[in-house]
């Protein structure tokens, strides 16, 4: 029997970056089939798309859209940090980049929200 890793071991920036990257990726992966189904409605022309878009008028859906855009921006920024850590000979864990990733995602989410409301 092995002692299990304690949750207190995970309280640091690089681990949160991993967790956010994984969960955001999972959410986006699960969203993709829905996204493609919606867009596929264009096979019925503008009317088909409008039918799908009517569903997106609901305020909760708008919030979900903002959430997805934010998750995408987060996953992108976190991913860029990972690519730099893996492909360039850096030694640190670049905690500042984690903060930067959240900043980028917040800014993108805000821009999208403003656009949505405008």
């Amino acid at each position: 029997m092995k002692q299990r890793i304690d949750g207190r071991n995970r309280r640091h920036a690089a681990y949160w970056a991993f967790w956010v990257h994984r969960v955001s990726g999972l959410a986006l992966a699960l969203f993709l089939p829905l996204h493609f189904t919606f867009l596929g409605q264009a096979l019925q022309g503008a009317a088909g798309l409008d039918g799908a878009l009517a569903f997106t008028q609901h305020p909760l859906v708008k919030v979900a859209e903002w959430g997805l855009v934010s998750l995408l921006a987060l996953h992108l920024a976190g991913g860029v940090r990972l690519l730099l850590l893996e492909f360039s000979a850096w030694r640190g864990l670049r905690g500042a980049w984690v903060a930067g990733a959240f900043g980028f995602a917040t800014a993108t989410g805000l821009a999208f929200a403003l656009s949505l409301l405008g």
Binding site: M1, Q3, I5, N9, R10, A14, F18, L82, E86
Partner: protein, 241 residues
């Protein structure tokens, strides 16, 4: 007013089961967690099982889980980790089979060290002149950055991928392989790259970074593993694995 007595929860048990038991330990100046464990064994519970050797931060034998985090107990001052009511929690290292109390079976750790050809294999013998290895070449600097590992197991005990993938070689073994791959005298490079490739090797690392954060010698297994990822990918795309 500082608490004068520590309330120490120590994991007691065997390979199958156990639980935390609390002991009261007098607080002293400059006390380390190893001092606390030693006090418990000497005065309160003579049958407490634990490992230590040098007690000065050179051997790595005293690694245990302190308040949920793997540390060298001889180099952990109570002052730094004690709770506001004098609480302290000590458990064996994670990810390794328990033997008894605070002692774990390190065989799996060292088996995985050996698996990716974790030992140097040269091509000259003592009758030949010394190898001249320039210290400032990039590969030598990469090797030097990881060479101080003493195999204490703290990184292994801190890695979530080790918990979730039983075959994963782990940060120490991979860090070791990286230092050897960068050693220009070594002759097993190709075999070593093959041995560290794939989901049991460097590609399972998700850059969670707990190993680098916890290493008592400030090594960076994450960086070493990233280096292996680059070398292995290149070799794999060329079909050399």
């Amino acid at each position: 007013m500082q608490e004068q007595r520590l309330k120490v929860s120590v994991w007691r048990g065997d390979a199958q089961s156990g639980q935390f038991q609390t002991y009261e330990v007098p607080r002293r100046a400059s006390q380390t967690v190893l001092d606390v464990v030693t006090h418990i064994q000497r005065h309160l519970a003579p049958d407490l099982g634990f490992r230590f050797a040098c007690r000065v931060g050179m051997c790595g034998s005293c690694a245990m889980t302190v308040n949920g985090v793997a540390r060298w107990t001889c180099r952990t001052h109570v002052q730094k980790v004690v709770g506001p009511q004098g609480e302290l929690e000590i458990a064996p290292l994670a990810n390794l089979p328990r033997i008894r109390d605070l002692v774990t079976d390190m065989r799996e750790f060292f088996d995985k060290w050996a698996r990716p050809e974790g030992r140097f294999v040269g091509q000259t013998d003592r009758h030949e002149p010394f190898a001249v290895v320039k210290p400032d070449t990039a590969p030598r600097q990469q090797a030097d950055a990881g060479i101080e590992c003493i195999g204490c197991g703290v990184c292994y005990a801190s890695c979530d991928v080790v918990s979730q993938r039983p075959d994963y070689l782990g940060p120490a073994a991979l860090n070791r392989a990286w230092t050897l791959v960068n050693d220009e005298r070594d002759t097993r490079r190709q075999a070593r790259l093959g041995a560290v490739a794939g989901d049991a090797g460097c590609h399972a690392c998700h850059t969670q970074g707990s190993c680098t954060l916890r290493c008592p010698k400030q090594l960076a297994p994450t960086a070493s593993i990233a280096g292996l990822k680059r070398l292995v990918a290149r070799a794999a795309m060329k079909g050399e694995l």
